[in-house]
């Protein structure tokens, strides 16, 4: 592909785009502010195509809605590539100058005719052709995608298939034209960039590269392990086996990991667990030590957003009681374990990061503060976008200007692989999960919020009227949703928002945890678990059972009935 997994364009470029291809992103709910920019582009005449199994808000203003079968993205994208190649709409000059291995993609997509794609994806061949032509022939054409496309066992395939479209049409290194993953959480980008990953030191320097290892050994005055570590999905599977102790900061792993029941069992086999969090959470049952930590309003630091923009987080109030800022706790823990860390401020921590990761070298707390004060007058925006290598470097608004960053963009042929868990007689529906506007991930924050609670007080499953009818389910019924791994009880919303054969559940509710249902089968390359697709079915509950406690309710953070023990 072409390097760093960040947006190649900036959010501010969206409004100037002429074509927007939005795939697997429920933008108006997951990224409302990006959706506003898209709405503005559409208002100004841009064409928008939304590929999503559900009728989401964005489809109401899209020129076309490609209502694809869940998990069939590769078919759709390869068929688009097929059309672009067949009709000679590729950007040959760009391909020659900046890419490698295009031949392999030509070969790989030959069989993916739009007609065949229609069979698998449910999207008409005409829609596929139209979208492919429109994308290839519009100069300012951007692709926007999010978890929908990465949280699949085929997540990496999907991303490669998208990158192939970008490279063959030369839609890169230009304003409003590029490939834009929209990050789910505030600092996903920054956490990756700062080395919270098993294979990279800060700044994407590989732990198994002897040069990088030597650099960090020198900086930190110690020997470092050259063995890549476990990524989260692998680590969670190894809990209780080779992993015997855990340190967890700011996450409720028991609530947010897929296939939770297996993890809960394994957690009992851990010998020592340290948690650092601002709130009580479900993982507490396994903790040996708990550190009371801070929320963003109580600490100094930076977040890096989806468009690689580094921005300041500032302390506005003191944490409650004895709670401390997370960075302070980490220093104290390191020193209790024998280190000698002497950072006096989070700015000093940042400075060490910047001295080790060249793409951050030009940015500092002081520069961010200084330039924020004059941003309005200069007509600039607050924050700096990496790469920003020196004090005078203005940062990169869009990536790959004048060529592909890593030298040559690599085409990666991908083939469709059927979902790991096909439907069958017992589990006849395809379950996907996702976010809604009013809640956020495990909802430890938003469920403490009156408004979100009023709009969406409880968990639900969306089911198509035809599927509801064959199961004797009516709107608002209490139902059981079950997979090979577990079951939960929720309310049914009968709606044409979902395709026939598919159901959808939001991710945020502790007492009906969708993650009891999902599979932890990971993507072969990134090991991102497939939250999105698995086989499931739904059955109506009789009224007696419906009044019982929700299954899976060991501990509800802030459930409808107040606090559960």
């Amino acid at each position: 592909m072409f390097g760093a997994g960040a947006m190649t364009n900036s959010i501010g470029e969206i409004r100037d785009a002429d074509f927007l291809f939005v795939i697997g992103s429920n933008t108006s709910e997951a990224h409302p502010i990006i959706a506003m920019e898209m709405k503005r582009a559409v208002r100004d005449g841009a064409t928008m195509v939304v590929a999503d199994p559900r009728k989401i808000w964005m489809t109401s203003i899209a020129n076309r809605h490609l209502q694809i079968a869940p998990g069939s993205d590769v078919w759709l994208l390869n068929a688009m590539a097929h059309v672009i190649i067949e009709e000679g709409l590729t950007d040959q000059a760009f391909i020659d100058a900046h890419t490698e291995d295009f031949d392999q993609v030509i070969e790989a997509v030959k069989a993916y005719t739009p007609e065949a794609a229609e069979e698998v994806t449910g999207v008409s061949a005409e829609d596929i052709r139209w979208t492919a032509r429109k994308y290839a022939t519009t100069e300012k054409a951007g692709i926007y995608y999010t978890l929908g496309i990465t949280e699949h066992t085929h997540g990496t395939d999907n991303v490669y298939a998208l990158a192939n479209l970008v490279l063959m049409t030369g839609h890169l290194g230009k304003p409003s034209s590029g490939m834009n993953p929209l990050r789910g959480q505030n600092n996903v980008q920054g956490a990756n960039d700062s080395g919270a990953t098993p294979i990279f030191y800060p700044g994407y320097q590989r732990v198994d590269d002897p040069v990088a290892q030597a650099k960090f050994e020198e900086a930190w005055g110690c020997e470092l392990s050259p063995d890549p570590g476990m990524n989260l999905n692998v680590m969670m599977k190894a809990v209780g086996k080779s992993i015997k102790g855990l340190f967890v900061m700011g996450e409720d792993i028991v609530l947010s990991e897929p296939n939770v029941s297996r993890l809960e069992e394994a957690m009992n086999d851990l010998e020592f667990v340290v948690l650092q969090d601002a709130f009580v959470n479900e993982t507490f049952r396994y903790a040996n030590v708990v550190f009371p930590a801070s929320v963003f309003a109580e600490k100094e630091g930076v977040f890096t957003n989806s468009e690689r923009r580094v921005q300041r987080v500032r302390k506005a109030v003191d944490p409650p009681g004895q709670a401390r800022e997370d960075w302070q706790i980490l220093i104290q823990l390191a020193n209790a374990a024998g280190a000698n860390w002497t950072y006096a401020s989070s700015a000093e921590v940042y400075d060490e990061l910047a001295s080790l990761a060249p793409q951050y070298a030009g940015i500092s707390h002081a520069r961010l503060d200084r330039e924020a004060a004059t941003a309005a007058a200069r007509g600039a925006k607050t924050g700096l976008q990496w790469p920003c290598r020196t004090d005078t470097d203005e940062g990169a608004v869009y990536l790959h200007q004048g060529g592909v960053m890593r030298g040559k963009g690599l085409f990666q042929p991908v083939a469709y692989r059927p979902p790991v868990e096909p439907t069958d007689e017992q589990y006849g529906l395809v379950l996907s999960t996702g976010r809604t506007l009013y809640h956020y991930n495990c909802a430890t924050q938003t469920r403490r919020e009156s408004g979100s609670h009023i709009k969406q007080p409880e968990a639900f499953v969306e089911i198509h009227p035809a599927d509801a009818r064959t199961r004797g389910i009516s709107d608002q019924d209490q139902v059981r949703v079950f997979t090979r791994r577990g079951e939960i009880q929720v309310r049914a919303i009968v709606s044409r928002q979902v395709r026939r054969g598919s159901i959808w559940i939001p991710l945020h509710f502790g007492e009906a945890r969708a993650n009891l249902l999902t599979t932890d089968e990971g993507d072969p390359i990134t090991q991102t678990a497939s939250y999105k697709v698995c086989a499931a079915d739904v059955a109506k509950l009789d009224s007696a059972t419906a009044d019982n406690v929700f299954p899976g309710c060991h501990y509800a953070v802030d459930g409808p009935g107040g606090h559960h023990g």
């Binding site: 098993p198 102790g245 900061m249 963003f296 980490l330 956020y440």
Partner: protein, 368 residues
């Protein structure tokens, strides 16, 4: 807009010759030149409405005074934005608006600063022209948790309804009724929760008088916005990274401060262009929630989590983790950090894992 590209001509404003780009309004040119023209119904995110007429200026050779916000600059225009005529006109207009608006700040300014009163003060507009009986109706039965509409202080500039339509794209609120009964309402005067409203709070942000206001601080009787300290920060929810202002009452919580509300910075110099969504603007109650952890906890011999001192907890954690290393080797440990935490904190977790405990088993949760 950069006048260097698409340079379309020059105007003279208050005696200064200024270049402009195609499509720019008189107000755009003035803004760039640092010439202050007061506005009420204008917002850079919205199509110009030219409705309130506070921005009227004189243009040589024009019989009527045009609104600067809605009039395109044209080559050779000679514009006067400060003159006795403009001033007289502004005063009259502001005094007229005040016949349909409380003039007492205490009564009118419940939350956000009232810009109409500010302007009346700034331009010395008479405030004693009497008060018309109020004919606008509100929606007292609207039980939505966030947005309050005060019919008394609304001046019908329609910024809120235009924002709702043009920026948020949902048309939840509209101008309703006619003549002097015109008001801001919803279809059938429904509560916002029963409309297409997405609770973005943009209508609050654009309202110049505070007629659209945030309910929670009003209910809690917090200090008005004017007396709060604004701390610019970055939203902690999604990956857009909106800039927001935490409005803090520094005296609350015995001097430890309380976040009383969140407002958005002015449009233009932030990635979110002054917009926020329901989470960024309204979901701040968690900061001071009673469920917050306030003491370190250590599990005792009976298996119960007990309150402990920091020193005890830190020592217990360090020796517990070290014990795992002693028994199972360095790779017997795993470190999970969080995409919710800062760059610095993620940096320290991976350094803790790699330098102190010598394992690369470190990953952020939700690596998407």
């Amino acid at each position: 807009m950069n006048p260097a590209n698409g340079h379309a001509g020059k105007v003279t404003l208050q005696g200064r010759e200024l270049p402009f780009a195609a499509g720019e309004t008189i107000l755009d040119v003035a803004k760039r030149a640092g010439v202050d023209i007061p506005t009420l119904c204008h917002d850079p995110r919205l199509e110009p409405a030219g409705a309130c007429r506070t921005c009227l200026v004189e243009v040589d050779g024009w019989r009527r005074m045009p609104p600067a916000c809605a009039t395109k600059a044209a080559d050779g225009m000679v514009i006067t934005s400060e003159s006795p005529k403009v001033e007289r006109h502004r005063q009259t207009l502001l005094s007229l608006y005040l016949t349909d608006h409380p003039t007492d700040r205490e009564a009118s300014e419940k939350g956000a600063p009232d810009q109409l009163l500010d302007m009346a003060e700034q331009f010395a507009a008479p405030t004693d022209w009497g008060r018309m009986p109020l004919q606008r109706s509100g929606r007292p039965t609207d039980t939505n948790p966030y947005i309050h509409f005060d019919e008394d202080t609304c001046i019908l500039c329609a910024r809120c309804t235009r924002y709702c339509d043009e920026v948020e794209g949902v048309q939840a609120i509209t101008l309703a009724n006619r003549g002097i009964q015109t008001t801001i309402s919803t279809v059938d005067a429904l509560g916002l929760l029963d409309t297409t409203c997405e609770l973005c709070g943009g209508c609050i942000d654009v309202c110049p008088t505070g007629a659209m206001g945030e309910k929670k601080p009003l209910v809690r009787k917090d200090k008005p916005e004017r007396e709060l300290t604004k701390v610019r920060s970055t939203c902690n929810f999604c990956g857009v990274g909106c800039q927001l202002d935490l409005n803090v009452d520094p005296d609350a919580r015995e001097g430890h401060g309380r976040v009383v509300k969140v407002t958005s910075p002015a449009p233009g110099s932030t990635t979110n262009d002054g917009n926020l969504c329901v989470k960024g603007r309204f979901a701040y109650d968690f900061v001071h929630h009673e469920d917050r952890l306030t003491t370190p906890l250590v599990r005792d011999a009976n298996g119960d989590l007990q309150e402990a001192t920091w020193d005890e907890a830190l020592a217990a954690a360090a020796s517990g983790l070290q014990g795992v290393v002693d028994r199972h080797g360095n790779d017997g440990l795993g470190f999970v950090s969080s995409s919710r935490c800062t760059m610095e904190e993620n940096f320290l977790v991976q350094k803790l894992s790699r330098q102190v405990f010598r394992t690369n088993n470190v990953h952020q949760c939700a690596a998407t």
